[in-house]
């Protein structure tokens, strides 16, 4: 485990998390959330949790994002916060 | 077969919930009988299990045949056997009683509703029976998800209030999960009994303290303990009758059971009451909860919403009782789980009967209800008496234990709060009874004005019979309090609590 890589991904995770909460476009938030999940997935596979990473890649980064997109397109995309 | 009761009581409802959702696509009329049969088997197993526990003591059931710390195991002791019986019986009675109301309120979606109903019961039973801290979380989520779905089926505002419940409920569950994680990181185990064995040398650890607090807060969020109660009134008020009369009596009570289980088994009374020494502030919090619940209930002009605030106050009773730290208080809290489940069930079944006929339960709609629905109101009076705490209904006896516990531990504020809440309940319920008792006033009043009375419009028999079973249960449980306490609750509380 390379701790620099670990640290970098951890930082990215925080940035994407904050980003997905900050953007005013919900579709963007959904995509950023997907990126967040994928970063998490990378982090976990570094930590040796391959099964969890696999699941997160398919469920978190995959299906969750699709569900978000579906919901956002069915409702409204813009938000004030 | 009696060896398999612990498994049956969960598996039968689970399988039948799945079966219901299949038959729902084929023949909708089969769903209700399947649900009733499943819950009946479950209730039968629960009662059988309780009898076995009373005879033999703690029963350990190893799922998958693995020994406890490795696999998941049930530890069925007197405490959860009792709560199991309550949950399964309440669910069964309510299911039978709310068939008509489900058909009225959710035409076209009865089948998935029955499936969710049975899943909810499965989850609750699972939460109660399990001996594994993480397994409890999973079951909690089943309960929660099926609960959200059922609650959201209500009126226009139901989805919004349910969504709020979902946020809070998820925070609560996640806090609990986090607490379990903290325990896991310091003990390396997930089995409740195993954790309790490992913990004693670690009592000073901050991680254990944090685990305890975070678990407790999570559970409090889910049970709507006072400052964290904001989700409950709206979520329950706007829900369909059948859902609220299942969830209102059971979910908060089961969460109280979880809290007691954490106190008694996982963290042990020794740690909770002697080392932490936070009982006093929590009892004070419970006092505030009772006061606020009562006062907020006073402000309501809607029967169902008023009842939801009473639930908030009742949660205060049980949390306070459990945290008094003595045997009487704990007995009172456990007994009140039983009693309050029945009381709330009775009250909410009345509400669903009223909703079935009146389509509304604001106070103004209720005028002259005693004439219109005399039998329903009769049961309502019994429920009201029990909530007020009039003997021989069961509410009196649990209040008795709680107050005795308060006196014994010198927490007079808690005693005052209980009495205050009883008095407020008198006002609350008699205000309703009064409104229902009097006809809408005409200008001239005097004797013999029954000529303009509305005709009787009572709820169907299939709703009344279960209601009266519950009302009778309130009195029977009251009369047999001593048996429940002596044979069950007495053994449910560890000897270390005096």
């Amino acid at each position: 485990m390379v701790w620099q890589l670990d640290l970098a991904i951890l930082t990215l995770v925080v940035i994407t998390a904050v980003g997905s909460l900050m953007v005013k476009d919900l579709l963007g938030a959904a995509i950023l959330f997907g990126a967040y999940s994928f970063m998490m997935c990378a982090l976990w596979s570094i930590m040796g949790a391959v099964d969890v990473a696999f699941t997160e890649a398919s469920v978190g980064a995959g299906v969750s994002t699709v569900l978000f997109v579906a919901a956002v397109l069915r409702t409204s995309r813009r938000t004030r916060d | 077969m009696s060896q398999q009761y612990p498994a049956l009581l969960i598996i039968v409802p689970l399988l039948s919930a799945l079966l219901i959702s299949i038959t729902g696509w084929i023949n909708k009329r089969l769903c209700f009988p399947i649900a009733v049969a499943a819950l009946a088997v479950s209730a039968y197993s629960c009662i059988g299990l309780l009898l076995r526990v009373v005879d033999e003591g703690v029963i350990v059931y190893r799922l998958g045949g693995w020994d406890p710390p490795m696999g998941i195991a049930y530890y069925v002791d007197h405490l959860n056997a009792l709560v199991l019986v309550v949950v399964s019986v309440v669910a069964l009675i309510n299911l039978i009683g709310s068939k008509k109301s489900i058909e009225l309120e959710m035409p076209g979606k009865t089948a998935p509703f029955y499936a969710l109903y049975v899943l909810q019961v499965t989850g609750l039973l699972g939460v109660v029976v399990t001996g594994d801290a993480f397994n409890l979380y999973v079951l909690l989520e089943i309960t929660a998800l099926s609960g959200y779905a059922m609650l959201a089926m209500g009126d226009d505002r139901a989805p919004l209030s349910t969504l709020n419940y979902l946020y809070i409920g998820t925070i609560g569950a996640c806090f609990y999960l986090l607490g379990v994680g903290y325990l896991y990181i310091v003990t390396g185990s997930l089995n409740m009994v195993d954790i309790a064995n490992i913990l004693p040398p670690l009592y000073e650890s901050k991680a254990v303290l944090a685990a305890f607090i975070i678990c407790l807060v999570g559970v409090w969020l889910k049970m709507a303990f006072f400052p964290l109660h904001a989700w409950l009134p709206n979520a329950y008020t706007h829900a369909p009758s059948a859902a609220s009369s299942l969830i209102a009596p059971l979910v908060t009570k089961v969460m109280i059971y979880v809290m007691i289980r954490l106190i008694l088994t996982v963290f042990t009374p020794e740690f909770t009451f002697n080392i932490l020494a936070i009982s006093e502030p929590i009892v004070w919090l419970a006092v505030v909860a009772i006061f606020m619940g009562a006062i907020l209930a006073l402000a309501e002009r809607n029967l169902k919403k008023m009842l939801t605030y009473i639930i908030v106050a009742e949660v205060g009773y049980m949390v306070g009782g459990a945290w008094l730290g003595n045997r009487l208080g704990m007995t009172g809290a456990i007994l009140h789980i039983v009693n309050d489940a029945l009381m709330t069930l009775c009250a909410f079944m009345v509400v669903s009967n009223v909703a079935y006929k009146l389509k509304g339960y604001a106070f103004d709609d209720l005028k002259g209800l005693f004439r219109k629905m005399p039998f329903t109101m009769g049961a309502f009076v019994v429920a009201a008496l029990s909530m007020i705490g009039v003997p021989p209904t069961c509410g009196f006896f649990s209040k008795w234990y709680l107050i005795s516990g308060a006196i014994q531990s010198g927490q007079y504020a808690f005693m005052v709060a209980l009495l205050f809440s009883s008095l407020v309940n008198v006002v609350l319920f008699f205000r309703v009874i009064e409104i229902c008792f009097y006809e809408p006033f005409s200008d001239h009043h005097g004797h013999g004005h029954d000529h303009h009375a509305e005709p009787m419009a009572e709820a169907p028999v299939s709703m009344l019979v279960p209601l009266y079973v519950v009302a009778g249960g309130l009195i029977l449980v009251g009369i047999y309090t001593s048996d429940i306490v002596n044979y069950v609750i007495e053994f449910a509380i560890p000897k270390s609590i005096l």
Binding site: - | L385, I388, G389, V390, P391, P392, F397, W400, I403, S404, I407, Q408, M415, L419, S422, L423, V426, F430, E434, F437, Y438, E439, F441, H445, G446, H447, G448, H449, D450, I479, Y480, T481, S482
Partner: protein, 494 residues
């Protein structure tokens, strides 16, 4: 003390409870009232059948369910409970007759509900009389409070609503707010709630705590209408007259007083009260209630309201008798339960009969009524004499014993209070009787010919009036029961 176990006390309680489904399902009013009669007579007979046993000095015990050690649902028939049970069960029969006349005479609505709750209330009353411990007593006390609510609010109009609110607020509020915590504290102190001959609190707590408990109990049983918790009683007079008669002259208020007496003797015990000198507190409170109640009664115009205030004053006699803590005083107090019951019910019956016959409620409208309704007003006179405590009525005995008791206890002030109060009683009763018989009625008062009320109304009041007189010559069962109780409690023979 010899005890035997028998199911009779439970039967006595249940008989009127079990009849309610029959009442509800009755097809016609006649069937319904027949059932009420059957229940009333059965109840009386059951109570009566226990009398010889009790007079022999044996107690009857029956435990329904043990809930905590020392706190069970349990019945114990002793001489004092027997006294009260006899009074209330016998008066139920008479009141039933009267109710039928009254309710039919006025064509009241919801008669079935009325008879049902009447029966339930009677069950609760007998339950209180036979209760062996504080818990059972509290249980039936609460049932009674709630069962009488629909009776008080029978008319279902604005007035009934506000009175009903007041009634519940006072009765239930005090019992939950004061009596219940007092009971719990007592239980925690003593570990039992079983009534004992010398109470169970002796030696468990300090004087201030005992004093506090005493206050909580006396005011907690607000049915005893001791001031300042009295104002529900006049308010509750909106009820139909038979309800006022039975419940507010006999069952409800007497249950309150009975409970207070039971608590004073069975929970605290006379020795404890004597040693802490708490009797004098009771005396002060009661004297105040007696005098103020009588004075207010003087100023009332509504006949039933006046009777209500008279009741408030008379109830305190009973508690006062106990507060004297002397054997004679106790006897007088207990005897007054019976004597006052028969006297007061006569008066209420008369008030109801007048209302049925003429529709009049106020005293000022009753001038000259005695000529039209001689039987009724004759009975009224007898009742008034009995309440005032003059011969030839039974009320004489109780007042006599009370006086003797206060002399025995060396309480001269109480003697003065009793005499003054009797004078006031005479002051508010006698003018009514005088005006009824000896003043000419104004023509405008009675447009058409006024007759006596229906037979069903008149017969009961004649019976109770006659019984009141009979008691002067034959007070035996009640006097004997009272003296038995006193000798058991105080350990002295009178």
């Amino acid at each position: 003390m010899e005890t035997i176990t028998s199911i009779k006390p439970l039967l006595a309680v249940l008989v009127s409870l079990l009849v309610t489904p029959l009442l509800v399902s009755s097809r016609t009013p006649n069937v319904r009232e027949a059932w009420t009669f059957v229940a009333a007579i059965a109840k009386f007979l059951i109570v009566l059948s226990m009398l010889p046993t009790i007079l022999k000095g044996t107690e009857i015990v029956y435990t329904v369910a043990e809930f905590l050690p020392g706190a069970a649902i349990k019945f114990r028939v002793d001489s004092f409970g027997m006294l009260f049970a006899l009074v209330s069960s016998s008066l139920w029969i008479i009141t039933t007759v009267y109710s039928i006349g009254y309710m039919r005479g006025l064509k009241e609505h919801s008669q079935t509900r009325y008879f049902c709750f009447f029966a339930i209330a009677l069950s609760a009353t007998i339950g209180v009389a036979f209760s062996a411990n504080l818990l059972t007593l509290y249980l039936f006390y609460e049932i009674l409070s709630l069962a009488t609510y629909p009776l008080v609010c029978h008319h279902q109009d604005h007035e009934a609503r506000s009175s009903g609110r007041k009634y519940l607020l006072y009765i239930v509020g005090t019992s939950i707010g004061l009596a219940l915590p007092a009971m719990l504290i007592s239980y925690n102190l003593a570990g039992t709630l079983e009534f004992g001959n010398q109470g169970f609190l002796a030696g468990t707590a300090s004087k201030p705590l005992i004093g506090l408990l005493l206050f909580m109990f006396i005011f907690g049983f607000a049915k005893a209408a001791i001031m300042p918790f009295h104002s529900w009683l006049p308010a509750a007079m909106v009820a139909p007259t038979p309800v006022s008669a039975l419940l507010h002259a006999v069952a409800v208020v007497k249950v309150g007083v009975f409970s207070v007496v039971r608590v004073l003797t069975g929970v605290f015990g006379t020795d404890l009260l004597l040693s802490f000198d708490l009797g004098s507190i009771i005396l002060v409170v009661c004297s105040f209630t007696i005098l103020v109640g009588s004075l207010i009664a003087l100023s009332q115009d509504g006949l039933k309201r006046m009777l209500a205030f008279s009741t408030i004053a008379q109830l305190s006699y009973i508690v006062l008798g106990i507060g004297l803590l002397s054997p004679k005083g106790l006897t007088g107090g207990m005897l007054h339960i019976a004597m006052h019951a028969f006297g007061k019910i006569t008066l209420f019956f008369c008030a109801g009969a007048i209302f049925v016959a003429t529709g009049k409620k106020n005293i000022s409208e009753m001038i000259g009524i005695g000529r039209r309704m001689p039987i009724t007003m004759g009975a009224f006179f007898i009742g008034a004499l009995s309440i005032t405590g003059l011969p030839p009525c039974g009320g004489f005995w109780s007042k006599w014993y009370l006086l003797l008791g206060s002399l025995e206890a060396n309480q001269m002030a109480i003697v003065v209070v009793l005499l003054l109060s009797s004078f006031l009683n005479a002051c508010y009763f006698m003018p009514i009787v005088y005006k009824a018989f000896f003043c000419k009625p104004e023509d405008s008062l009675f447009e058409n010919k006024v007759r006596e009320a229906p037979v069903c109304c008149v017969v009961p009041l004649v019976i109770t009036a006659v019984i009141s007189i009979v008691f002067l010559f034959y007070p035996e069962p009640f006097l004997e029961l009272a003296t038995m109780t006193v000798s058991r409690i105080m350990g002295v023979q009178i």
